[in-house]
């Protein structure tokens, strides 16, 4: 089985699965259990200045459920650690001593003044932590106090705080980014300029979960009032993947190791992050929903996947899919796909027909020769993938490329050579 050992920016761990800074890494008790279960590392629940913050005594969390109450999305209004700094530091020192082969990263959030960094960073480093993770992402509560995402949203602040941390730390510094920005590349570049050794992303996305429809109040609420929280879990994975790939592709940041976070639930999610440029992954919600034991399938599944691919290490997978990511304008406009429905697999639910009929291109039949039968009309199909997306049967509808002949929809011959928007006649700015 493939070796899962990873070296993330000089921090070694037996596998690329770390627990993200959050309740699962709140204290030694949880972390000892996590390491016993097999997690490769942790980012300790974010440390701050004393006196510790206080949390609400009502609901901190709420979930969006899929069918059968499976948790799809998760929301929280929890702040950083609510325990005294000394208690955390004492436990961190002990945990690192007990688990020397696991990664222990200190997540920190400090105000925008250098003196605080100068005082805290050496004290925290003294625990033997393998690195720092700067929490510039918490989007609720802490941001009202000028920290968390309030820093992460201003590249100049990101750079300055990173510089302060680097000045007082001897171990690697990872900057954890907030997704609540217009373009993730700017804060990542700022972190790079500030001397960050790596970035991690994403923290949670601003969110309101819903309304209590009996009382007509925000849900969840504490004593009748609520506030926005941070959204995470499976639902945010695509947002995170996009941001990871953007940083991995940007010339100004592509050499920064990335710790991918956001919705990792099974090893397949980890494969996505790694293939799009992350060097390891961090997990919070999946552990909070299923417990630490999921590490067994995460590690086992990834290792077997690497074997299947003939890859000897995690490193071989990192960035493997990046060459296939580009801008829209470089997509081959000469390529033609048509949907194809496997009649053997079709259960005749009619969903593909109605979505195509109502909202796409009227390209799927309802009946053929008087019988209920769903077939793609190549002369109408634009290859949009809507039917594939809604079909309840996996593998029943697939996209098939046309490689020769004429596209019956446009009457145009299929051309082998690629041509994209930059050379398209309709493009007023096309290269001549």
């Amino acid at each position: 089985m493939a070796d899962l050992t990873t070296d993330f920016s000089g921090i070694r761990s037996p596998n690329p699965f770390w627990l993200a800074s959050a309740p699962p890494t709140d204290k030694a008790y949880n972390i000892n259990r996590a390491f016993e279960a097999g997690w490769g590392g942790v980012s300790w629940k974010t440390l701050g200045e004393d006196p510790p913050i206080v949390n609400v005594n009502g609901p901190r969390y709420a979930a969006i459920h899929g069918p059968d109450r499976r948790v799809i999305g998760f929301n929280n209004i929890e702040l950083i650690t609510d325990r005294p700094l000394a208690v955390n530091l004492r436990e961190m020192r002990q945990v690192k001593r007990d688990w020397p082969d696991r990664a222990l990263v200190a997540s920190v959030m400090l105000p925008m003044n250098e003196a605080s960094w100068a005082r805290h960073i050496p004290m925290i480093a003294d625990t033997g932590a393998d690195g720092f993770e700067l929490n510039f992402g918490c989007p609720h509560g802490m941001s009202e106090r000028g920290m968390g995402s309030a820093v992460g949203q201003v590249p100049e602040y990101v750079q300055r705080a990173t510089e302060w941390c680097k000045k007082y730390a001897d171990v690697p510094v990872i900057v954890k980014l907030t997704p609540n920005v217009a373009n993730i590349v700017y804060p990542a570049q700022a972190a790079h300029k500030g001397g960050a050794d790596a970035v991690s992303l994403i923290n949670t996305v601003n969110s309101i979960m819903g309304v209590d429809r009996d009382r007509l109040t925000i849900y969840p609420a504490t004593g009748g009032m609520g506030t926005h929280g941070g959204y995470c879990g499976e639902a945010v994975k695509p947002i995170a993947l996009h941001m990871v790939a953007a940083i991995a592709r940007d010339p100004g940041t592509r050499d920064l190791p990335i710790s991918g976070i956001g919705g990792v639930t099974t090893w397949r999610d980890a494969v996505d992050f790694l293939a799009l440029g992350a060097a390891n992954v961090q997990v919070c919600t999946a552990a909070m929903v299923y417990g630490f034991k999921i590490i067994e399938d995460l590690a086992d599944g990834l290792s077997r996947f690497l074997d299947d691919k003939g890859m000897a290490s995690v490193q071989a997978l990192v960035g493997a899919a990046l060459p296939s990511v580009t801008e829209w304008k470089y997509l081959n406009l000469n390529h033609v796909d048509k949907a194809h429905i496997d009649q053997e697999k079709c259960i005749k639910c009619g969903r593909c027909h109605i979505v195509c009929e109502d909202t796409a291109h009227q390209a799927i039949t309802l009946s053929v020769n008087g019988e209920r039968r769903f077939e793609v009309k190549d002369e109408e199909c634009v290859g949009c993938n809507l039917c594939v997306s809604v079909c309840p049967i996996e593998g029943c509808i697939s996209m098939r490329p046309m490689t020769s002949g004429t596209d019956p929809r446009t009457g145009m011959a299929i051309r082998r050579q690629a041509a994209d928007w930059t050379v398209h006649p309709n493009n007023p700015l096309k290269d001549s």
């Binding site: 499976r70 099974t266 090893w267 397949r268 417990g291 399938d297 086992d300 599944g301 077997r304 049967i393």
Partner: protein
């Protein structure tokens, strides 16, 4: 009694219809139903303690080989058990889904889905341990014997298996219903188990006949007895010797070995005497072969039957009728062939006993199957008179140690054996662990 009541294709179809596996999409939907419970009740209900939520999670995540590993590391016969375990009284009975929708996750079917590719592809998931230089003899290559041998090989011991019959796998090969164990699964599984290496097998080597136990005990560092129950009980009633009165276990063994099942002799009116899995299997398979009327007659009530409710229901939906509270008194014959069985009506007595009522009835029959249980054969144990036995079975402790030093036993042959494949596998595992502690 005659053969070819149905043609070969009909017979094959009849058996195949009951031996189905999940498609990938059925498995995906079913796997989603598992809640990934903590300290899951299904795990405690599995005699081998397979981590069921984890193997199902691995199916869900698409890690099918990993899923098979989770199953096989606790139960090397996970493939066979997926087919033959009465899951409705084991893991599936404990599923928490019962509480709010009275429909458990189909654990057995998912287990088959996960293990089939590994058996089909011969994908070896286990490695033989570093040789310890210790040698262990295993007597009997049924589920208990093979499970013990495999675990001992994993632990690095050298194993020699002595098996009286020509083929391996014990009742997996000669006993369990053909419709549960199609596609030569018993042999494929046995070969998979042996492929780990370090296990030598001698077939046609009956201990007590070709070698004796005392000799094995002298030659090996430890011995595991897993001989099952090779003898069958007699009815001890008048007319039992008539032609057409057949041992159900022998008939089933013949059926399992038949290349063409439609050529087997089948009765017109079949009466099966007994209340366990063997009775059900003889009855159902007679029906599948084309018998016209098949009845099971059991001397006690429905609740006391050894066959689970699911098995009983299966028999009934296949057209088998089940009669309770009647005990056979005499077998009538014409020209030496069975023609009818006389039963006496029984009534429940005090303290779980049975009272004869004196009332009798007669059922016409051209075949009578005796399925009233098996017992331990004496032969293998000859020469070891000191071996403690009770109710005709071997007495063992929790580690499956017998009263004799260096001798372990497990599976059907031990007292309180549960007569289930899965329990035999667990016995083999437990004994291997104990033998390992003893040797190392």
């Amino acid at each position: 009694m005659q053969s070819s009541r149905l043609d070969r294709r009909q017979v094959d179809d009849n058996f195949a219809a009951l031996d189905s596996s999940l498609s990938a999409s059925e498995a995906a939907i079913e796997a989603q139903r598992c809640y990934f419970c903590h300290d899951a009740p299904c795990v405690s209900a599995c005699p081998t303690g397979i981590d069921i939520p984890m193997f199902i999670q691995k199916i869900r995540s698409g890690n099918i080989i990993g899923s098979a590993h989770t199953i096989l590391e606790e139960n090397i016969m996970g493939g066979m058990c997926a087919r033959v375990c009465p899951t409705e009284i084991l893991c599936e009975q404990a599923c928490v889904r019962h509480d709010h929708e009275s429909k458990p996750v189909a654990i057995g079917a998912l287990q088959r889905f996960a293990t089939d590719p590994v058996l089909e592809g011969g994908i070896q998931l286990f490695k033989r341990g570093k040789p310890t230089g210790k040698r262990v003899a295993v007597v009997g290559a049924g589920p208990a014997g093979l499970s013990c041998a495999h675990r001992l090989a994993v632990l690095g011991h050298e194993v020699c298996v002595y098996e009286a019959r020509d083929k391996l796998a014990g009742l997996n090969e000669y006993g369990v219903a053909a419709y549960k164990a199609g596609d030569d699964i018993a042999q494929r599984e046995a070969q998979y188990i042996l492929a780990i290496g370090g296990i030598r097998v001698e077939t046609g080597a009956a201990v007590g006949v070709d070698t004796d136990l005392a000799d094995l005990r002298a030659r090996f560092d430890a011995v595991f007895l897993a001989v099952g129950l090779a003898s069958t009980r007699r009815l001890n009633i008048e007319g039992e010797e008539a032609e057409g009165v057949v041992d159900a276990v022998d008939y089933i063994a013949e059926l399992r070995q038949a290349a063409d099942k439609s050529a087997l002799p089948v009765g017109r009116r079949v009466v099966v005497i007994g209340g366990g899995m063997t009775a059900i299997d003889a009855a159902v398979q007679s029906k599948l072969l084309g018998a016209e009327e098949v009845s099971i007659v059991y001397r006690r009530g429905r609740a006391q039957m050894g066959a689970s409710e699911h098995e009983q229901a299966l028999a009934q939906t296949r057209g088998v009728s089940i009669r309770h509270w009647a005990s056979p008194r005499a077998i009538q014959s014409e020209n030496g062939r069975v023609s009818a069985v006389q039963f006496e009506v029984m009534a429940p007595g005090a303290g779980g006993g049975l009272n004869a009522t004196g009332e009798t009835y007669t059922m016409a029959a051209d075949v009578v199957f005796k399925a009233i249980g098996q017992c331990l054969a004496d032969a293998p144990l000859d020469g070891e008179q000191a071996l403690e036995r009770k109710n005709g079975k071997i007495v063992v402790d929790a580690e499956r140690r017998t009263s004799l030093p260096g001798l372990w036993a497990g599976g059907d042959c031990i007292l309180d054996g549960e007569d289930l494949t899965v329990s035999a596998v667990q016995d083999g595992k437990t004994a291997a662990a104990s033998i390992n502690r003893f040797l190392i």
